[in-house]
Each structure stands twice: as structure tokens, then as C-alpha cells.
């Protein structure tokens, strides 16, 4: 299953609902291009809902980190919502849990942007 990205907006926060696989090549590039387009459109607050991401490799992780640093460099923020147990493990192993703000509740995540 390839990657599907649905884009929602609540106030000034862009929520990306990701589902499928974020792997080297197609999925990873698709995510990068999607976020770049939104940044170019002036978006600065991003919430990535990973609940339905069933596979993410180190390239996908790298894409999350790249997006995080790019957005932060422009004064914005990127946060993660609904990590699966596997993604939680991956972020723990790579110590990226110390980098990303993560949430299990969309409401709480949105509050954090205010």
C-alpha cells in the first residue's frame, strides 16, 4: 500500500492524515513534496497524524527530521500525533522522541500550537 495524504486545516494548523507506507522512493518523496508545497504556500504550523502509517523506514524518518528542521528554521513548528507502537519504538531507538513533540490527542496537540 502506497502513501495517502489527506490535508485538513483547523484554525492556522495544517493537519496531515497519513496512511500507508512511508518508504525510500515514492512515499518519502511524496511526503517531502507535499510539505514543501504547503511551506511555499505560507503554512507554518504542521501536525502529522501517523495513526494509519503501517510502515516507515529510516528514509521516512529522515523526511520527518528534514521537514522539522526546515519548518523550525522558518519560525514554524511540526508536531506528531498518534504514533503507533512501532513508530514509538523507532523514535525511541533513534532518540527522535527527544526532538519531536508527540501527542495522543488531536485536541491537546492543537492546544499546544496556541
Amino acid at each position: 500500500m502506497s502513501l495517502t495524504i489527506l490535508t485538513r486545516r483547523l484554525d492556522d494548523v495544517v493537519i496531515l492524515d497519513l496512511s500507508g507506507r512511508v518508504t525510500i522512493g515514492e512515499g518519502s518523496v511524496q511526503l517531502r513534496d507535499h510539505i514543501r508545497q504547503l511551506i511555499a504556500g505560507g503554512e507554518t504550523k504542521f501536525l502529522l497524524n501517523l495513526a494509519d502509517v503501517d510502515y516507515l523506514d529510516s528514509s521516512g524518518l529522515g523526511q520527518l527530521v528534514s521537514a522539522f528542521t526546515t519548518i523550525r528554521g522558518q519560525g514554524g513548528s511540526l508536531k506528531l500525533l498518534n504514533l503507533t507502537a512501532r513508530l514509538q519504538d523507532l523514535l525511541q531507538i533513534t532518540k527522535l522522541l527527544t526532538v519531536f513533540e508527540t501527542f495522543n490527542s488531536e485536541t491537546e496537540a492543537l492546544k499546544s500550537f496556541r
Binding site: 525510500i24 523506514d57 529510516s58 528514509s59 527530521v65 528534514s66 528542521t69 531507538i93
Partner: protein, 145 residues
């Protein structure tokens, strides 16, 4: 729990990242035939794909004329993954720690860490015919989910 009858699966591909779908399919075939549970299958796929990507990109320098061979073997007591390339190899001890300070926000360099965190043993050796071989073993001491 995996089946105890030894089963082997192998695939040889040119060094192009476009070939990764074949590796994912090989894992799916092996997982089904070996009776590997979903959770274990996820980490097996991740370990094999990370090492194959390294072989394609770093071992063979994305040269499509150079080949990468991947193998999966299961026998009920362990799962062995093997990735061979035509590169010069590297020292596992020389791989920078991606969790260290300046490396933490780099977009790449996490593959080996992920593999080592899951597999019970990871070793790299030179192939007699040239190139290098990465062997990764996961012991199955307990029934898997």
C-alpha cells in the same frame, strides 16, 4: 511460531532503489512461508530493507551494473538475513552514532542503528569472490506473535 522446516528465499537485483519493491515482496513471501508473526515481520522487513538500501547506495554506489543479493533463511530457531554487494565494505564500528549531538537532526544515517537494535547479531565480512556480506540473525527463543 515459525515453521521448523528450513526455508530459504533469495533475490538478486541491480543496484537501483527502484528495485526495492522486489525486496518487499520477497519478505512477504518468506513471512508467509515461515509462519512469521506480524510484529516480527515488520522488523524483519525493516532490517532487510535498510541493509539492502545501504548496499545499493553505499556498497555499490547506485551503479546498476553492480548486483545486490538478498537472502532470508528461517528454521524455527532463528531467522537469518543476508545482503551481499560488490562494494569494498566498511567497518561497523566506524558508523557514526546518529543519536549523538550534531547527528541527531541529520536526514540519514539511522539504518544500521535500527538493524542493530532489533537483530541479535550483525556481522560484516568480505566475500571470497569480492564484495561484502552483511549477515543478520534474529534468534527465536520464544514463540512469536
Amino acid at each position: 511460531m515459525t515453521t521448523e522446516t528450513p526455508r530459504s528465499f533469495a533475490l538478486t537485483i541491480p543496484s537501483s532503489l527502484d528495485q526495492m519493491d522486489g525486496v518487499y515482496s520477497l519478505v512477504a513471501e518468506a513471512v508467509a512461508a515461515c509462519g512469521i508473526g506480524e510484529e516480527l515481520a515488520y522488523w524483519i522487513e525493516l532490517s532487510l530493507s535498510e541493509s539492502t538500501i545501504n548496499a545499493i547506495r553505499h556498497g555499490n554506489g547506485l551503479d546498476p551494473n553492480k548486483l545486490v543479493t538478498v537472502g532470508i533463511r528461517c528454521d524455527g530457531s532463528q531467522i537469518e538475513l543476508v545482503v551481499e554487494d560488490e562494494g569494498k565494505g566498511f567497518d561497523l564500528a566506524d558508523v557514526p552514532d546518529p543519536t549523538n549531538g550534531d547527528n541527531l537532526l541529520k536526514p540519514s544515517g539511522r539504518g544500521i542503528l535500527i538493524i542493530r537494535s532489533f537483530m541479535d547479531s550483525v556481522s560484516l565480512d568480505r566475500r571470497p569472490s569480492g564484495g561484502s556480506r552483511l549477515t543478520m540473525i534474529k534468534k527465536l527463543s520464544q514463540p512469536q506473535p
